[in-house]
Symmetry: D2
């Protein structure tokens, strides 16, 4: 994209004329739509829209110009609206414990320019992955649990605030966040759970899955909420497993699924493709 593009996302009560109003405001501003998706959820009565456009007019348009052009529509339909320059990368803070596969995958994708985010640092309750993080010339915040969860979470929050991160990604961070922290990060914290939720919540899900004798394992990327492993699901994927595999093999196979599923969820969130619809998500992938 050599030209500037903007990403517009809208969420409001569904009604006649929304698309017409938004599209007309954009057309009047000479915006050329390159990508657009909308969805009206008949169950909740909510309307969701994501539109990518670029200016085409003689008048050079900036983000704020478009925001101004859309303001009457936003007011009329009482929309919750977000408008971003597509070139502006979302700042992301990663959190990890000792399993480095998700972290390694995200850092590689980011570093090779494939993942449109701006990684601003890595938080960990262990020091094991410092060397990997430092190879990428990123700040590594070692926040051990020694002084108790409250103190550690306070430092975690400070790290998020100081980094300017809009999104926190729990890339196999093996600590349960307090309700308070969950609420603080609502809608801007993604976790990878190493099972096909809602099966096998909680600890050692691959061992649970093995004991139950499943023939397919999976992983789930979801927004963190105070309700453990119950947050809105962004993405899931599965993989077949045979009877000859032991729990360790489930763990190993699961790592590939986790890495891919989490990276997809982070990408979609960073591209403003994911919107909350009650306990569900709308994903304009």
């Amino acid at each position: 994209m050599t030209q500037s593009h903007f990403i517009l996302t809208i969420r409001c009560k569904d009604a006649v004329g929304i698309v017409a109003a938004v599209a007309s405001a954009l057309a009047d501003a000479d915006a050329f739509i390159t990508e657009s998706s909308h969805y009206g959820d008949e169950a909740t009565g909510l309307f969701f829209m994501r539109t990518v456009f670029r200016p085409t007019g003689m008048r050079v348009f900036r983000r704020d110009d478009f925001a101004g052009a859309l303001a009457p529509v936003v007011g009329r339909f009482e929309m919750s609206m977000d408008l971003r320059d597509a070139a502006e990368r979302m700042k992301v803070l990663l959190a990890v414990s000792k399993h480095g596969h998700c972290l390694n995958h995200l850092l590689h994708q980011w570093h090779s320019g494939e993942l449109p985010i701006d990684v601003v640092g890595v938080v960990s309750n262990h020091d094991d992955l410092r060397r990997l993080v430092e190879w990428y010339e990123l700040p590594f915040h070692h926040l051990p649990m020694d002084d108790g969860k409250a103190a550690q979470e306070a430092r975690f929050r400070d790290a998020i605030a100081a980094s300017g991160a809009e999104l926190t990604v729990l890339a196999r961070y093996m600590q349960v966040l307090t309700d308070d922290m969950c609420r603080h990060l609502e809608g801007r914290c993604i976790n990878i759970h190493h099972s096909f939720l809602p099966s096998f919540k909680g600890a050692r899900p691959y061992h649970q899955a093995h004991a139950r004798g499943v023939k397919v394992v999976g992983a789930t990327a979801h927004y963190v909420t105070a309700d453990l492993d119950e947050g809105p699901i962004i993405e899931q994927e599965t993989q077949r497993v045979g009877h000859n595999l032991d729990p360790d093999a489930f763990v190993r196979i699961g790592k590939d699924i986790e890495s891919v599923v989490l990276a997809r969820a982070v990408r979609w969130h960073a591209e403003h493709r994911v919107m909350l619809d009650g306990r569900r998500t709308v994903v304009f992938a």
Copy 2:
């Protein structure tokens, strides 16, 4: 859908203001959009749109009223436009040879009300599946090849014309259509090829796949064109296979994939979700 719904599909050169114009015309007619997708192909410069809406106004609106309301927009953007009552089921003629799995799946889905089509008959160059077809109280046209392909295809065309079918589905019909017949049915004939195209074109694809030692087999539903097995792909699906399976097992496993893939392609076409974009298809699934 207790209320009437309409399905609008549009194809035209991409430009600023198309969505605004279409959506405004619909909003002015008090149409409530329940589903909408559009796509601009930057490579071909073409724009595609599919919108489902229902009337909400005091004024009772029929299809022709909406068509009239959209006419100026259609003219302005030189659109190819199609507008259908969603309750109107597409008439479909099925063609089959001796393998009944795709036919059986389509007929069951249709009969149980899951597939929104109106099956108007079955054509076959063999008589083997007559009893199955007649159980469904459908006309069975036995059109053997005895008098040569030209004569048989003439009768096939007559059957299509007489049935009023808008779509012909080759549900494992093991005859290669002549170029002439392909052109006659362009864009309104779907074939299921029993391989993951473009791999293994032509005859006995599962045997080719087995000889090549693939670890995954697949099936492909595509529009029929004069270029054998080269038509625009609508849907594909794959399934893993092990070294211990012989070609007959590939064939057996393939049957399930073929049935599912073909039924999906027929559904999407019948719901006006598939649009041609050069050699590719846009599928608003």
Copy 3:
């Protein structure tokens, strides 16, 4: 297979020398092994084996001859052993309520010679699918629930006994069996559950899945046990779903998965490929 083949399955405590003993007994009887799998579960200490062989010797060998040849080995390792003529098709009774998709798929596969079973009849608590069953010239046992579950299950048991069925398949049979009936059918009754177990046990799983906002749905074929939806899993499969699909679409998509998963489980059971290993199954597919 123009020649006769035999299928040998063995289950015993694992030990040194089992394979040697079995294979030697077979070799001494001039049996040519065409397929063989074994598995020792280190967690349970159990050994499982499935071997397919054909006689090659001058001496004509029947099933009982091979059973005799194996008897010393069976005794020595205290094996639970089963030996079948591969040409002998397992008698199977199907049970269904009103959703005919699994039944239709099984009957078509059986009728076209692809599923190596001998369907001996269909039981249903409703009369809706009688015409389909009778087209296949099979006995249809309409066993309504009018007189209560106890009376109905007694008639169900009688139907199983009278038919000589070795396997009962609940092909979307929407009645919960009593504990007594479950125990009676232990290890010889397969159910299809329309979710990816252990997620969404119980009623209306697709609606549960939709409410939870999953991105993948699935189906599970398992042995029936008194513990509802907790029986050993034979096979599972999944399919992606988008936010734009409502619960009815989940149901529809699920039907294809259910049909395929159940048919696979029935095939594997009928070919003696499935063995119980505690709560898990060993599947030599």
Copy 4:
């Protein structure tokens, strides 16, 4: 595995008594079989076997003891036999050009102890990935093409020889090897092709796939042979793609599939699970 284990692989003409002979030789040596698979290909008349066992006897057994115990059987059936200590990791040399995703995945899996190989170095015709390789404290052999392919390949061969590598992995190495080099590495060189072979051989397969309008893309790990992209396939995997994705998105999605497929193939080869059966492979996964 705290105890020593051995991996036995056998390939020979199929016959009565092979399993009996091998298993008896092992049982006589007090070997406890923990994993075993065999397969007789009726088409080629070849027999393949892979058995993992551990010594249980009082007499301490080493690899050579078991080899001696098996020698008579190997001679009798004219077997090609291989016997390895399972703890002995295969030495592997990686080759790469500029795309680092497969390399990064393999190195991470190896470094975290998940991939049972011993990486002995990385060869590249570019210098771009040196820093990544050196982080892992591995030798990086920069072998540019400046002096022509013949000279470069000579140095490549020298690097293989000097490293003691038993396997060379082309992890997106974008040079076509000469016939001579292919023959030199026959059966000990794995390539990842970024398409679902045999579709889209040669260059820019994702662009080919996009132009053809496929709905599924894939990747293929195969042994390198002089016949480009025609070598025996070890593993394949696929992923759905939509019409809204451009060739660059195909490339990006493909990278995840390539990484996972190649790592699986390398693991299976390193665990002696892959055997050549003409143009096909037997994979005891």
